[in-house]
Amino acid sequence: MRFIRATLESDYSIKRIFFYGDAVLAANRLQTPPQGQKSIAQSWAELAEEISIPLHACIANSVRRGIVDEREAERYNLGVSSIHPSFTLTGLGEMAEVVHDSEKMVQF
């Protein structure tokens, strides 16, 4: 998150923040962190709102890990969505599109 802020302060633009693999767990709205700590999902949500950059989580990786939106919850009969509303489930096609259009992809 510090890198993102520093990048934007340096006059670069960021097209997308994409969560892949275990990183999709950051989108879990059901996290209950210890008292006094903010959930990772909430921290990302606040950053995304501040900088107006969408948060995308790989749909296949997310569903495997129990991160589902209402549509996937219904499809798999899970009863409840678990994704933070600031995140969107997307396929790798979305990421490929950004890879095409971006000068540089940075991975953490």
Binding site: Y20, A60, N61, L92, G93, A96, E97, V99, E103, Q107
Partner: protein
């Protein structure tokens, strides 16, 4: 101009093979993909591996699919695969020098590691 990506695999196979799924997806969207195995990542190349979870995909089958997606540049960096004593028989994989691996990274628009 088409985009290119080097996928650097340094960790052993995972139950969901997400590194290779990523490679196949990028290739399916017309991104030029090269794959470099190093460190424990060369364990992906052990021949005939079954899936690592019930109903999962096998690394061997996904590796075999790479050329069908136009992924022909698949290599082990820095000499023969030596992470364990098992034979590595995935024959589409070439061995390249560290310098060639560095060139692949330099020439790619993007580099991701798994």
């Amino acid at each position: 101009m088409s985009s290119s990506i080097l996928i650097n695999i340094t960790r052993p196979p995972t139950p969901d093979c997400e590194a290779l799924e990523y490679a196949l997806a990028m290739a399916a969207f017309d991104i030029e993909v090269k794959i470099l195995f190093s460190g424990r990542g060369i364990d992906w190349l052990n021949a005939g591996q079954a899936s690592r979870k019930l109903g999962g995909k096998s690394p061997a089958k996904l590796l075999a699919a790479l050329p069908m997606y136009g992924i022909d540049d698949i290599a082990v960096a820095g000499g023969p695969a030596t992470s364990d004593e098992s034979p590595k028989t995935f024959d589409t994989c070439q061995t390249i020098s560290q310098q060639q691996a560095a060139n692949w990274a330099r020439d790619a628009h993007h580099v991701v590691s798994f």
